[in-house]
Structure formats: C-alpha cells, structure tokens
Amino acid sequence: MTDTDIRDVLNRAAGDVSPAPDLLDRVRAGGHRRLIRRRAAIGGALALVAGAGLAPLARRSRGPEPADDRVRGDLAGDLELVRRVRKAYGPGTKVRWIGRTPGGPVAAVTGPSGMRDGYDLQSFIEVVDGELQTVESAELVPEGTVQPGAMIAGPDRDVLVVFTGGSDVMFSDKFRIDAEGRIQRTFEPLSEVDGAVVRRIPDPGRFVPFALRSGETPDKVWLANLNAVADDGSNAQNLMPERIDHLLPGREKAWANEPTGSEKDWWDVGAQQAYLDPYGYHSWTGPTQWRLSGATADGRRLVVQTLALDGRARAFWMAAGAGEKPRVNYLGRLEDGLSSDGTDSIGQTYPILHARLPQQLGVAVAALNCQLLYRVRDGAWLPVAGQAAVIPAAATHLEVRPRQGRAVRIALP
C-alpha cells in the first residue's frame, strides 16, 4: 500500500462520522458547567438553576468580595509598567497587584472575559527577558471581584507568587504518605505584603509538592501555571489516570445489595479525602488505577484498589460483611514490590500489579490488555478470566502475555 492508499483508507474509515447537530449547544452548556465547577471549587458562589444554564450569583458567606481599583504591590508606582501590563492583557484590564519578585516582575490582573457578561478573567502576567508574558490559563471570577490565585514564577520556576485577594491563605510546602497510605500535610499561614506573598521555593520539576488553601471552608487556591510546570499540558488538567472497575467472579452474593450513598464511599478509597490531597497540585499521571471488587472465601466483600498520584500508585485492600464499614488497609506503593514492568513488542513498558493480600486472601493481579496465567509451584499454568483477578494465595508464579511482545513470568513474593 502506498501512502496515498493509506490516506484513502483512513478517509474511508472516518469518512461519514459527523458531529451531533446540538454539539455546540452541549459544548457551551458543558463549558458553563466547568466554569461553575471551577468557581465552586475555589469557594465561589455560582449556582446552577435547573434548566437555566448559568445562574445569577448567590454569594456565600466567604464568597468573592468586590475589589477596589487600587493597584497594590511595590511596583504600583511604575506607571509605565502598569500601562504595559494593561495593554498586554487587553482592553478593560485592571492591575490588581504588581510587584518585584526574585524571578522578575509579576502582575495579577483581571479583565473582561469576552465570553459572558458579568464575568472577568483573572490571571497573571510576568516579565521574561523584558517581555510581558501572560500565564496561559485564567480563572473566571464574577465581574469586579478577585479570588486568591498563585503562580510559579521565574526562569527556574522557583518563586511562588500568591495573590491573596484579601483572603487568608495557608501554605504547606510538602506532603508525606503515612503508614496508612493517607496524605499528610502541615499548613502555616502566609503573611501578605500589600496584597501578595512572594517566596522562594525549590524548583518543583514536574511534580508540585506544595499546597495552598484559603478561607474557612477551606478551598484550594488556583495555581495559574500548573500546566507549564507539569510538563505535559494534559497532566495539569487534574484528570485522573484511567480507572478500571473490575468485577471479580463469585462476587454476586456478597454484593447482592450494592451499597449506595456514603456506604458506597466506604468501599472506594478514591472517594475518601484522607487518601487524596485536596489542596495540592498534582499531575494525576501514573499507572492504570484498578478497583477489583469480589468476595472472600467466607463470603465477605473484598475490594483491592490502587490510587495514582504524581506518577506513582498506592495499593489498598478492604474486606467486610455487607452493611459493615470496612477498614482501609494499606499494602504499600506499587514500586515497593507490588508491581513489575513488562515490555511490549515496541519496547514500551507496562505495569503489572501483583499484590499479595494478607490472611490468605490471595494475590491481586492485573495488567491492562494482557492475558494472565498463574501456577502453583511446578503445576500447570491456569488462565485467568479477564485482565485482572485475585488468584489463590497458593499461587507462586504469574505469567503475563501482552497482545504483542514477549510474555513475562514473575515469581510471586
């Protein structure tokens, strides 16, 4: 086949797909919802009135306060720079704060959103090599108001600038994972100087360790240039890696009455705040997140789950009877002996989960798009149905066969 043939084949394959007639309406509605979620996430005060799209604002007690038009910051008197910033961000721009930082001058600005009346966009502008550069993303705020926001400034990305917007902002420089697999942080208040806080931070590299929160609720402070810091732009969307809910054979009786509401969250570590980092900025990249739900030999519910964070993953297991609240048990990080890497035919690695559960509950195994087999000592290889399972505790070896590439044999610890 020639290149032309390939083009023809691809065109024929994709030829007749066309978007739904109401795509634009759905996109606009979805876009509005995203804006509302963003605002809600930072303590905003938007409400969605059923069927009415974007609703008028209903202020919460700690919602955005109207901002005066005074330019704050130690460069507020540099009228030429202020003028350039206004020009760079466009007509109607208000400079809320502008100041010196070790990474060069930075300004916090708002300006008309250009998308919908009654809303401004809030963002940052930094000076790089004498040129004004607008941070790539912006936050939608009710017109005439400001919200706390932050950016990582400087050529080495080692300066944190927090525009407080008049709110109390708390800072945590790093997190740790405790013995239960939970995220632990210590927050300290930031002391603003004329509307902002500027402090040196270690170059975060691809993964941002710090966290910022504001208000009594509290709310996560928006970090304007997470995309740029987190390398791959899609990482910074804070979208989770793919999660696969896999139902194991033999679970039907134990899960006859599927839990709902808060009881459902008992069985989902990913729904429990203690295991997440709600005020941190993470690249939610990492291996596929598995949630295997099945039953123990004595008829209890069993869940084995992995959670990804900054390219790594933790593994957990839970077992309890129907209606009982399970204890979340931490197995450890996948790289600590709970997984191995396979290599497919083109040299790309893929993770293989093999986490041995206590109490002779078995070994949780999973590998995306692979066939799995196990054996006990020198016995016959036994195939596993599907790409994930909890195999018997007696299993000593696992074989993983990718669709392309060589099979991998793993001695199970």
Partner: protein
C-alpha cells in the same frame, strides 16, 4: 474566528481524528466534547491557534487514556468494535479492518499516523500536537505505517474491498 464559528467549521474534522484515535464513535464524541468544553473555558487564551490546541488536547487525552469522566466500567477492547451502521457493506469492512489495525498500534504511532495521513498535517505540526520531535514523529509514523501495511495487506481485507 469566534468560538462558535470554530466549532461549526472544525468539529467534523476533529471528530474524524478523535474517531480514529479512539476507534469508537461514542468515545470520540465524548472526547471531542470534553476538549471543546475545555477550549470554551480557555478561549481567550487559545483563540490564536485553536486547531493546534484542539489536536494536542485530543491526542493527549486519547493517548493517556484519561477521561474527565474517569470512572467507567471495564470494557474489553474486543467488545469495543464499532458496530456496523447504515453504511454499505464494503465501507463497513474497510472501517472494521482499519479500526482494528489502528487499535493494534501503540497510541503514539496511532496518533502520528492519523494526524499525518488523515489530517494531512506536515511533520512539524504533528510534532507540535504530539509534543515530541519531528524525528520521533517520522519514526512513529513510519512504524505505524509498516504495521498498518502488514495488517491491511490484501490477504486481511475481505474480498470485494478495494484498498
């Protein structure tokens, strides 16, 4: 170009790309809608080069197998084949063969092939969309094409289908 005009004029082309990246019409529609929603929120910042942004976002999301509606029940790939619609039988066969062949490609190769040969993009624009070097694009596209040629060779195409 305003956002509405962009959606009206480019959504078909972007959907075709999404379709070949995902191999599933519904997944492609979801993917495109998510990307366009994201663009709507950021339009002020990206309106200078919206199509490049859209391509990159489509590829990133498809490649990384991420979904904003992340929790989905497991669906074996084999069960995800596009079901024949009201097409002619020949087109259905071609589509099935092509989607199957693309599905077998690693995600980066698939994206390189689709952008280079469906969207007819020059190498540098594909590199921008994939966030990699032009050399990597050429190598991924070449490997992908080799694989497609193997899979889509005459013996694997149903009789009566001309490629």
């Amino acid at each position: 170009m305003g956002f509405d005009d962009f959606v009206r004029s480019r959504s078909t082309g972007l959907l075709r790309v999404a379709y070949l990246l995902t191999g599933d019409r519904h997944a492609a529609e979801d993917l495109l809608q998510e990307v366009l929603e994201q663009m709507y929120v950021r339009w002020r910042r990206i309106h200078g080069a919206p199509e490049a942004y859209a391509r990159r976002a489509l590829v990133n999301r498809a490649t990384n197998r991420w979904r904003s509606r992340a929790r989905r029940p497991e669906t074996p790939l084999d069960a995800h084949h596009e079901q024949p619609g009201p097409d002619h039988g020949e087109d259905v066969a071609v589509r099935s063969a092509v989607l199957g062949a693309l599905r077998e490609l690693p995600a980066k190769q698939r994206a390189a092939v689709v952008l280079r040969y469906l969207d007819d993009l020059p190498v540098h624009e594909v590199a921008a969309a994939l966030g990699c070097s032009e050399g990597t694009v050429k190598s991924n596209a070449s490997r992908g094409l080799d694989r497609l040629r193997q899979v889509l060779g005459p013996s694997s195409i149903p009789e009566g289908v001309e490629l």
